[in-house]
Symmetry: C2
């Protein structure tokens, strides 16, 4: 049936439209993964592997370097914005146009049209990026087949407005708990106030000077912030517990253990009864000093910016693969009903990557 | 019908048992108020007034002083502990024995047996003390007929284990709100953290030295405490608001306006965006330096203690009438299924009051 196949001879914008018209909301990626696998298996220069609904294809040319081009194939739920629609101004509208089927189209176009790249290539198409982290297909591949992701450098084709965003900062969330002793508030001296006990924690946070380390030429900017605070039993009771939830966003020159050690050090003398890790995702180095990355920057042009937020490039970071975000989509339009992408940018992105991989 | 009347010739313990067997859960006091009014109207030395289910009876002997004996006639819901039961150890069990039908029995006994007291007497029997403050019958009398409560001194016969508890501390609850500006926690420098903004508030609270003023010979003990704190929008958002709920328990040498002014002063330079009063109930002077109170202390004996918690004596305080708690019940047993009172203490309390009012 025609609708279940992908024609990789279509140009980037047309292939993007085809992908948008092929619904693949998180959890329902099987048909699209099948189509991608089938299309890639027709290309004799690639070997193709599959793990769940994740598809990985590779050249095996014995080049001195290997780079990954990665993208997720799922979208957020459709919001009356499928099928796609191309308007007279060259904007392609629809669910996933920016996030990130335009990037996936570029991956597929490079896979189909660059049979002899100057660097060995690994194409990664993964599922469940838009939902809970433990479902993320890239994470599943990293757990089950880390060798599939081995490379010198990775480009995640997430929408970045056609500009390079290097690496990403880590994010650590901890609960700092203070303890006290309950008493009636009319006889407060019989108890010990755990909210008052949080005073040194807040003072330390308010006075904290975040680092701005320059890594691979990019100036990162850390942050240590309370994102929640909660304490209290009743309006007439001295509270025996208070919890401050702190989010540490850290630059990629720190590993996860170092980041946690730093938080323990910052609050060492603040009377914290317990520090519990609630969530932790490591940082990723931009890796822009690597030769493959330098050539990439020369080819795509522009000035790389640091990525402050956490993205899937961190998963490459945890495997020791420097990674950047570079894709045709506009991140501001992600998840919106009026999501769209400029077709000119899809073509431009594809051309820049081809230039990097063939010159 | 016999069950609807009260026999004021019964002794204190027997009258307490009779009152306990006459259910009067909050909101259902009408029958008991009727019985009290009827019984008091048979006493020629008293004039009797009624407002709702509140009954006020007075002597009019033209004495130089007037004192109030007050008690609430409602109870918490019955918990399989009615009718009352007198055991072999002289303990009377049942709902309201301690809180506070034993006190009401003493009021009625004094009303019936002291026709010519050395001080003019006002007996106040009121409803709805065990429920929301706006329903409280003593408050309704104070609003509608403040002249009925005019006096030099008041004794609230709430259970105090037969010891005098003088005055009561006020309680003021305020919300201190700090403001900030939201931002993604990965770019925290784009916002302003309202939880960090609460640091000076908590530091001020932690360092606060509460006063312990001696008033009428009683050492009060203030307290200024956070009882709740709440802030946060989401785990990845710099919060734009944080609220600290502070409870100020203040000694009766401060009026309500002074107490509020003190709180404003304490937090004046802490960066608070707004201070809102959530609840406020004034303090009451013990009034133990008044001649009527001195004679009272001489008659009942023991050493008066300050009352730290807020009680209905505060309503007398707001009318300019010094007041104490003094009653036969045990406050620890109030509202409990195993509520009881020692009959010996009922008799003792009645004798001590009679001694004060006749010698």
């Amino acid at each position: 049936m025609a609708e279940s196949t992908l024609d990789l001879t279509l140009d980037g914008p047309a292939l993007t439209a085809r992908l948008v018209d092929f619904p693949s909301v998180s959890g329902e990626e099987k048909d699209l993964a099948d189509a991608i696998e089938t299309a890639l298996r027709t290309l004799p220069h690639l070997t193709v592997d599959r793990h769940g609904n994740n598809v990985v294809a590779r050249t095996n040319l014995g080049r001195g370097e290997r780079v990954v081009l990665a993208g997720h194939i799922d979208t957020v739920p459709i919001a009356d914005n499928v099928p796609s629609r191309l308007d007279a101004d060259g904007l392609l509208w629809g669910c996933g146009t920016s996030d990130m089927k335009s990037g996936v189209a570029v991956q597929l176009r490079i896979a189909a049209t660059v049979p002899e790249p100057n660097r060995d290539l690994t194409f990664v198409f993964y599922d469940n990026e838009e939902v809970a982290a433990h479902l993320n297909g890239l994470g599943h591949i990293a757990d089950a087949h880390p060798d599939w992701l081995a490379a010198d450098f990775a480009v995640l084709l997430e929408g970045s407005n056609g500009e390079v965003e290097g690496g990403c900062q880590g994010t650590l969330r901890v609960h700092l708990r203070t303890e006290g002793e309950r008493a009636h508030s009319a006889r407060s001296w019989m108890g010990s106030n755990a909210i008052h006990g949080a005073a040194p924690i807040l003072a330390r946070l308010a006075a904290y000077e975040p680092r701005k380390p320059v890594i691979d030429g990019l100036e990162f900017h850390e942050g240590l912030n309370a994102v929640r605070i909660e304490g209290g039993v009743a309006n007439n009771v001295i509270p025996d517990a208070c919890t401050v939830v702190v989010n540490y966003r850290y630059a990629p020159d720190l590993g996860p253990d170092e980041a946690l050690a730093h938080v323990h050090e910052v609050f060492a003398d603040c009377g914290v009864a317990e520090i519990t890790v609630d969530d932790h995702s490591g940082a990723a180095m931009p890796g822009l000093s690597h030769p493959a990355a330098k050539a990439f920057m020369d080819a795509v042009g522009g000035t790389a910016r640091p990525k402050f937020g956490w993205t899937d490039v961190s998963r490459f970071g945890s495997l020791g693969v420097p990674a950047v975000n570079y894709g045709p989509g506009d991140p501001i339009l992600a998840h919106k009903r009026n999501e769209h992408v400029a077709v000119e940018r899809i073509t431009h992105c594809e051309e820049r990557l081809r230039s990097w991989l063939t010159n």
